[in-house]
């Protein structure tokens, strides 16, 4: 038995450490640990709830926008504010561009090198790479000359003695399976996507002033005025510019990202057999919000538990609880989990003092708590969303998923796997890039009808709020279900809580010793060379970890802080 620690797990957001034991060429056990803690919820207490989104947005700069959105929704729910339709649509367009940009970055810049061997790409035949590229896509940058230029450029970097970001990759590892030409096509698109992502986020700059961390959210709406007759407002010229960017983003997704995801998936079929984990999936659902009608959400709400993949179980927020049995916090009774609204946080580090080689994984070993639903482990994210929406009968989601399964000759059950997550992420990007144009057009039509409203001012002044109130805001963020809870007393934040997608997925064990989704998914993963655990990275990266998001703390004083109303969900 070999014991290994991967720290830092790179090509993610934040600081993640994976420890594992390897026996007989397979992962025998695994532990997922977050090694950073900042304390957003403590910082937010006593502040003006209208400022909360500006703070909360900085939980994460990769998932920029998602915490801003969940935060304003939580405060609006508490104070009874109703953002007008324009504001809702602008938020949806910002959120949608976040999906598209974030998922493309994940595929090429965070995940691709688990499947793509850069060193092999330098040996490709440019003419054959060109034929391959043209056989899978109509994307115009596909000439032999283009691939030759890319190959020479990459070879120059790799062989320069200064390989920079490409240094010390697991190049030549036996688990790499793609031809030099396929590797070259994907490396070329790695470079193109780096430059492309800058373009799509200009939509957030138009609507939010800048990216990362756009700055036009408001409790009650958006701070970007709309006026067809003003140069200082969102006008039709600006909206035209936005549509052009959204259209070209859709083309990039359809002609580059999707074919490349299929290319990778079709060369690693056995990876639809690894990385499943618990096969319990949860989605809060989203788009559009606010809307009283959850059944209208494009991403459905609910829970899917295999083997009953066809049935959606209702989601009840009261059944969420968080355990700290194996986390660096103390509860009075650590055998039980606490609902986020009743959470306590007493950070109590009991791990080894730095510098250390291994954590004591038999004790507490992470800054993440372990959220559970009715005591069960839940996976959230693109795969969970698609499986829940499919089972709930959403027609557009059913269509793209069935199409992909036919192309890849797979069953729906095969999606519960490392590559299933990769495929699900690509498919929802395709869906989202289409929905974005619908939302954009709806906004244009609404403005053309003379509706210029962007803000509900009736609940802006704290004097218009109840003396005490509480609310929640949920969002299906690119990485999965996100919830913020707020309690307001006398115009100030009395308590603030957030439960993040990566907290669900990267959680440590709970009181029953149940492994978190990463840990369970890693069991049985083949490891050809424990010194170069490429396969472990494949499964961990398939979740798209975001550690800055994952660590949060609850009310340090404990006690009942938020009551979540069932019917509010």
């Amino acid at each position: 038995m070999t014991r290994i620690a991967i720290d830092p797990v790179t090509r993610i957001e934040g600081h993640l450490r994976i420890e594992a034991t390897v026996e007989g060429g397979k992962v025998a056990d695994a532990w997922s640990s977050s090694t950073m803690f900042r304390g957003m919820e403590i910082v937010l207490r006593k502040r003006d709830p209208r400022d909360a989104w500006l703070f909360a947005q900085r939980i994460c700069g990769v998932c920029t926008t998602v915490h801003a959105l969940a935060s304003v929704r939580a405060v609006e729910d508490a104070v009874g504010s109703n953002p007008p339709l324009n504001a809702r649509l602008i938020r949806d367009v910002i959120a949608g561009t976040q999906y598209v940009q974030d998922h493309v970055i994940h595929f090429y810049h965070l995940h691709a090198f688990d499947w793509v061997d850069v060193a092999s790409a330098t040996k490709a035949d440019p003419a054959a790479a060109s034929r391959l590229a043209q056989s899978i896509s109509a994307w115009p940058k596909s000439s032999p000359g283009y691939f030759q230029e890319i190959r020479d450029k990459i070879a120059a970097i790799v062989n320069s003695g200064q390989p920079g970001l490409f240094a010390n990759g697991y190049w030549g590892h036996p688990a790499y399976r793609l031809s030099p030409e396929a590797n070259l096509v994907l490396v070329a698109h790695y470079l193109e996507a780096l430059d492309w992502q800058r373009e799509i986020v200009r939509v957030q700059a138009i609507l939010g002033g800048k990216n990362p961390h756009p700055q036009t959210y408001l409790v009650g709406g958006m701070a970007i005025p709309i006026d067809p007759d003003s140069q200082a407002a969102l006008n039709f010229a600006r909206l035209d510019e936005e549509r052009t960017i959204l259209e070209s983003a859709k083309t990039f997704v359809e002609q580059v990202y999707l074919p490349d995801a299929v290319l990778v998936a079709s060369h690693y079929p056995e990876w639809f057999g690894y990385g499943a984990g618990h096969k319990t999936y949860m989605a809060y659902g989203d788009f559009p919000q606010p809307s009283g009608d959850v059944s209208s959400y494009r991403f459905a709400r609910g829970i899917v538990r295999y083997p009953n993949e066809a049935g959606v179980d209702a989601f009840d927020p009261a059944k969420i609880s968080e355990y700290v049995t194996r986390s660096w916090y103390a509860y009075p009774d650590e055998r039980v989990g606490l609902h986020p609204s009743r959470g306590e946080t007493n950070p109590t580090y009991t791990g080894p003092q730095p510098p250390f080689e291994f954590l004591n994984v038999n004790d507490k070993y992470s800054w993440l708590k372990a959220p559970r639903y009715d005591g069960e482990v839940m996976e959230v994210g693109p795969l969970a969303r698609l499986l829940v929406s499919y089972a709930a009968g959403r027609p557009d989601i059913k269509n793209v998923l069935d199409g992909a399964l036919r192309t890849l000759k797979l069953q729906r059950a095969d999606l519960s796997s490392t590559l299933g997550r990769v495929v699900a992420r690509a498919l929802e990007t395709q869906l989202m890039s289409g929905w974005l144009l619908e939302w954009h057009d709806e906004l244009v039509a609404n403005v053309a009808n003379g509706d210029l409203a962007v803000h509900d001012g009736s609940r802006w002044e704290p004097s218009s709020w109840p003396a005490e109130c509480e609310g929640w805001g949920s969002h299906e963020a690119p990485r999965g279900s996100l919830g913020h809870w707020v309690r307001i007393e006398s115009g100030a934040i009395a308590n603030y809580q957030a439960v993040m997608p990566t907290t669900w997925n990267a959680s440590p064990r709970d009181a029953r010793g149940m492994r978190g989704p990463y840990e369970a998914a890693l069991l049985g993963t083949p490891v050809a060379d424990p010194q170069r655990p490429l396969e472990i990275l494949r499964t961990v990266h398939s979740f798209d970890p975001c550690m800055a998001c994952a660590v949060h703390v609850l009310d340090p004083d404990g006690g009942l802080v938020v009551r979540v109303e069932d019917d509010a969900w």
């Binding site: 797990v9 703070f55 900085r58 700069g61 780096l194």
Partner: protein, 360 residues
Amino acid sequence: MSFAADSLDRRTFITFCATMAATLALPESYVPAIAKALQSAKRPVLVWLAFSDCAGCTESFLRASNPTVSDLILNTLSINYHETLMAASGEDAEALLSRTVGDDRGRYIAVVEGAIPTKDNGVYCTIGGRSAIDIAREVCSNAAAVITVGACAFFGGWPASRPNPTGAVGLQDALRGLKVINLPGCPPNAVNITATLVHFLTFGEMPDTDAQSRPLFAYGTQIHDSCERRAHYDAGEFVDAWGDEAHRKGWCLYKMGCKGPGTYHNCASVRWNDGTSWPIGAGHGCIGCSEAGFWDENTPFYRRLPDVPGFGVQTTANEVGLGIVAVTATAVAVHGVISIVRDRLHPEPVDPPPPSAGKS
């Protein structure tokens, strides 16, 4: 290796050099010097450390253009360590860092993103089993130049805001005496990061800075003095409610809490995301993200400045909007008071904890 010759055509490259010269407020005659520096045989080595951060500064860096971001991070520079972008993981990643510190000692640029938590022996941020401060001390003290990016590495950022649960500080407070250049902002603008790197590569030294080690080309002008809405401020034309006629016409956001007075940053001139827009241009006030302590000193964000306790400016917006003389006086007063408040509130530098004992 030259990035101009093999990957960008000559004109694009010269355009880039000219853009950099303009951003740095250098005369056009410097363009050839910039071009020459960027075509050196050995690419300059850079390591990027991320501690208690949100990766927003990394994301912002990736919005660089001219040269394209792929050229910048792969061809112009040799980025030997960057957790979010590098191919290597685990021990293989850490080996690259220690190899750079050894082989390129005194020659590499260290960029630091994120705050450094100092409480409890630094257990609130560890990488590869080492504390943030331990890594920062080793890597930064052997660098040719140290650049902090973002509010967190500058003064601790939001993790250091009240009540600062992890004892977070900025790099200059964590490692007293270390010479750093600060590129604050939440996040900083890609164009300013690139321009600072270009200046260092061209002249072998950092651009001129203010007393807080912020380059003057980027942090030398008050937002309020370069803002496109300034004429409305001077004319007493203010937005009173979100979405009102004044808001749609682009009037001044002062009454909505704008922190442009007292904030030094070039957002108004360089704007964001290839010049697409900037926060005030889009309709929301400035939050003052390039100023130390802004998470505490500038909040509540929607309260207009003179009402912020301690600023001592009792003038109402309408009064100060009456004439240019009053405006200038107020701006000076506001900035002066902010500096005083900041000096008083700025945490005393902490002593770095002693080097930790051997491995457990």
